[in-house]
Symmetry: C2
Subunit: 387 residues, 2 copies
């Protein structure tokens, strides 16, 4: 498959502006992918997600294999038809769950999780993960890797990247067979495959893993093993150690990141793709993003507030209801509160990324970053309602 | 205020086709009003409600007075602006809560409820209910009445309709003062007032109450004291005893009703307006309305079902996702399941009412009823998944 990434411009900071041509559409990069773990971005319809400007969303191999089962989704025509989302979808491989969920076995073959499906323990391996993702029919599949915990001893990380390398080679071979056998679900029958770099917090291991994975020639490259509790300073370092060893002509995806400040730091280090539960999870907890920092909508100071969530925002709730209404919905536990908050936060992220793209085109990413973070972080600290 | 109701056609059955010209728009009747108790139709945005075809929605005096408080809503410009709904709104008076909620006092002045607001017991009276509804700025306010329990001794019902008559006269006087003093919230500053007939299950009391209330000359008339457990056969009788004594040139609203079969029976007895929590509450519980009866989407027979909820429906979920997806969302407790189910059920009701209006225009209401209920009720009984 030809390289789906096209680099349009590079800012003096190193930030990249590009496009990603996927089976179901062209995505403008840098891009943020809302997370739809179980075939739904929690609390919002596919139409509402699209209306926030999201061009691509994420689904999860592990969760979808547990419920409803990838075979069922395949028989229904694939994940896009199942969930009524016609744009591109990226599926995570389950590798992150090797880090985050209880396991009964991790060995060279793969992983067995504690959770059961139909009375059988749930198992994942490179081959099984590729099979599930083929059944789902996502536009971008991710290789199955071993996502390491943080902190992690260097010896363990060194051994793990070798296993990850072997698992990714097996992933690539399994994926090639599935494509050849026309077993990718969905109307397009096409699916890209991204590699994932591991290596924990060790520069030499990150470099080695990046070079190993790059040698396998994937459609794009992800930096994994982040967003596991390492914090922004270490995240910046990891990206800085890794990105230079990834092919410059391919898309780079930083997995599970992050807050607005994390995105700025990463985009200027050459990252093109992000996914994160933060905008949706924070929304459900009543934390809303605004140009002047995060606000906690349940705070009593909003109970008579006639202003929209963010006066600079053009999302549906900001155009139609006051903060006092959101406050009321959260106070009375009306489920609509979480929905409106989610729409707003997703739109905030899409506007943030659109601003980045525009700034890169104009070679003024640093100025945009300083202006945005100046308002955003200062206000977050000053505001008594911020968290 | 001029009579807002215009009668366009009457079917041989007695079913009426009309329009209701309200401060914020014209409503086609017979009409069904989705219930937005606490300034939200549970789980759906105002835009989604509008997209189902709903022309008017209902809000609740009692609940809104408790949270966030009618004074707050008034200061924010009224209920329409607060919740981002620009179409007509009818507010219930709190009279139904006299029946449904625990009280510490019911006397000639009014009612004191057990629930407290700001440390004070919540009180309602004709004057207070009118004041709250003026603050909310609804298009149609309802008089404050005493909604009786079922069954109810005749002597108690006889005494109660006299109190209801006195309360409604006080409601009308209080409302007239509020209009005169320009205390109706919102851009239009206008508000209609409907009377409510009580009388429990006694024909002579229903007739007497209807004549008493009609003598007060309201903008429209509601039949109250139904949907309290009396069942369809008794409901039909109550409507049959009451409607003939209401002014034929005014709109008639049957409060809190009901299932599709209830609506058919009531429309042919001359009812023009309905509200009910059934479509929204059933949706949240996983019961979906279809032309072939109700289905329980959590039933395992839907887990691989590639058909839309209802093949004859044009709602957003029916156009975009299979039953298996709804089944999955309910199984995994994704909140989106309740949202999509609510959109579908609300659209089902709006299509049902649109079908009734069209049938009345063509003087074939009985044929439409028999055809609809023939498919709907027969299938409901036969289908193992129906409830």
């Amino acid at each position: 498959m030809p390289n789906p990434f096209r680099l349009l411009a590079t800012d003096p900071t190193g930030a990249r502006r590009g496009t990603l041509t996927l089976p179901r559409g062209v995505v403008e990069t840098p891009t943020f992918m809302p997370v739809g773990t179980s075939a739904a971005v929690k609390g919002v319809t596919a139409d509402q997600v699209a209306a926030t400007g999201a061009g691509i969303i994420l689904g999860n191999t592990y969760h979808l294999a547990l419920a409803p089962g990838a075979d069922k989704i395949a028989k229904l025509g694939g994940l896009h038809r199942f969930m009524g989302w016609s744009g591109p979808i990226l599926t995570d491989s389950g590798g992150f769950q090797v880090f985050s969920l209880p396991k009964t076995r991790v060995d060279e073959r793969g992983v067995t999780f504690e959770f059961e499906k139909g009375g059988q323990p749930m198992e994942l391996s490179p081959e099984r993960s590729m099979e599930i993702q083929a059944q789902l029919g996502s536009d971008i599949a991710m290789v199955f890797d071993e996502c390491l915990e943080y902190p992690c001893p260097e010896r363990r990380a060194a051994e793990s990247i070798e296993r990850t390398f072997r698992w990714e080679r097996r992933s690539k071979e399994a994926h090639a067979r599935l494509v050849l056998e026309k077993r990718i679900s969905g109307a397009t029958g096409q699916q890209l495959l991204y590699g994932i770099v591991q290596g924990s917090t060790f520069p030499a291991l990150r470099q080695r893993s990046a070079q190993q994975i790059a040698s396998l020639d994937f459609d794009g490259y992800a930096i994994g093993g982040v967003s596991v509790g390492e914090g922004l300073e270490l995240l910046k370092k990891i990206v800085g150690w890794t990105a230079p060893f990834l092919p410059a002509d391919r898309a780079r995806y930083l997995m599970g990141v992050g807050l607005p400040e994390d995105l700025f730091a990463s985009v200027e280090r050459g990252i093109d793709q992000f996914d994160c539960v933060i905008p949706t999870r924070y929304a459900r907890g009543g934390t809303l993003f605004t140009a002047r920092g995060k606000i906690r909508i349940e705070h009593r100071k909003y109970r008579r507030d006639a202003y929209p969530i963010d006066t600079s925002c053009d999302c549906y709730p900001c155009k139609t209801v006051p903060r006092a209404y959101l406050h009321h919905l959260f106070e009375t536990r009306e489920p609509l509160g979480e929905t409106l908050a989610t729409i707003h936060n997703l739109r905030f992220y899409q506007r943030l990324l659109a601003g980045m793209r525009s700034a890169i085109e104009q070679a003024r990413f640093a100025a945009y970053r300083d202006e945005f973070l100046g308002n955003y972080l200062r206000a977050s600290e000053e505001s008594p309602g911020a968290d």
